[in-house]
Amino acid sequence: MHDRRRVLQWATFARSWWIFDANHQCPFQSANRLCLFLEGKHKPIYHPLSDCGDHVIVINTKHIAMPDRFWRAWRHFHHTQYAGGFQVQRAWQVHREDPTKILKKQIYSTLTGNLLRKGLMARLHLFPEEDVPEGMLRNVSNQIRQVMPVPKTLEDYPIEERESFPRVFEWPEEYVVKDGKEFERQKEYLDEDLSLSKLQ
């Protein structure tokens, strides 16, 4: 084989590394897209018998956005195989214990259930924040497009723009404005007082 053709062959079948930013992304839609890259279905040379999947690094899994009321309604089940060993956890409880678990489980269940799945999962690298090891980051050659646009928060707008925005009315001086942390306080209160059995 000619030298150039030989290198083409290597380049075609080389395992490349991708990075995906899960900030404000739906885990269900993200899992569908990430599975394509893990299985190699993003390449025109794909064949179910040739192991042509890629490595995927996912950052900011702590900041995923569940749709609708799924933080409270989506449940993770576990059974220890002993009598009375059934456990249920809500998404927000699972996410607080391990910020990568929801996305990991979702990708695991989206992949086809065969003997390749364990190997494919080993090529998935999840990080709750952006602190990826430098050696891993050096391999990355491309970025996976996000599944939905990241919404802008109030803090993203400059102060001048915020204050120049037309107002219907202004708060009276003695009015106490909410600081937006009521839900977190409520969550802590729930964790202390309510056991898991009550939530079921």
Binding site: K41, P44, Y46
Partner: protein, 147 residues
């Protein structure tokens, strides 16, 4: 009855029975046990295998079509256009390549395939059709109205 001579009056024998049996043995050669060595046992196996083959002949086509679709979706998405838009554009431009040839081009002639994608995008934009937001051509192609 046409009997032109006395020798044609007798019953004319067919080919020897062994040839029919050899055909069965040949078809069952890859089996094991009595199904490959005994004619009577092998007959059923031969019949069943031919039934399976008939079904598989159709399924093979469907399997390949599914594989081609997967590959073409991947190849088109590399150039930022969903495959159904590319397929639609090619039909509109009267480029009547089938899925097999298209996926061969995508693998062995990637630059040609990229050209198809760009032309398809541009043609659909020229005709005033809607594309997904990430699929609009970044560099406009000058088609000179020839598509």
């Amino acid at each position: 009855m046409v009997q032109l001579s006395a020798c044609l009056l007798r019953k004319i024998p067919g080919p020897p029975r062994i040839y029919k049996r050899l055909q069965t043995f040949r078809l069952n050669a890859r089996y094991e046990g009595r199904s490959r060595n005994c004619y009577v046992v092998g007959q059923g196996y031969q019949l069943k295998s031919m039934q399976y083959t008939r079904v598989a002949r159709k399924n093979k086509v469907l399997d390949f079509k599914e594989l081609y679709n997967l590959r073409l979706e991947a190849a088109a998405e590399e150039h930022g256009i969903p495959f159904r838009y590319l397929w639609d554009g090619l039909r509109r431009m009267n480029i009547l390549l089938n899925r097999k040839v298209l996926q061969d081009i995508a693998i062995y002639e990637p630059r040609t395939f990229a050209g198809f994608c760009e032309l398809s995008k541009q043609h659909q934009v020229d005709q005033g059709l809607n594309l997904p937001p990430h699929s609009y051509p970044k560099i406009p192609v000058n088609t000179k109205g020839m598509l």
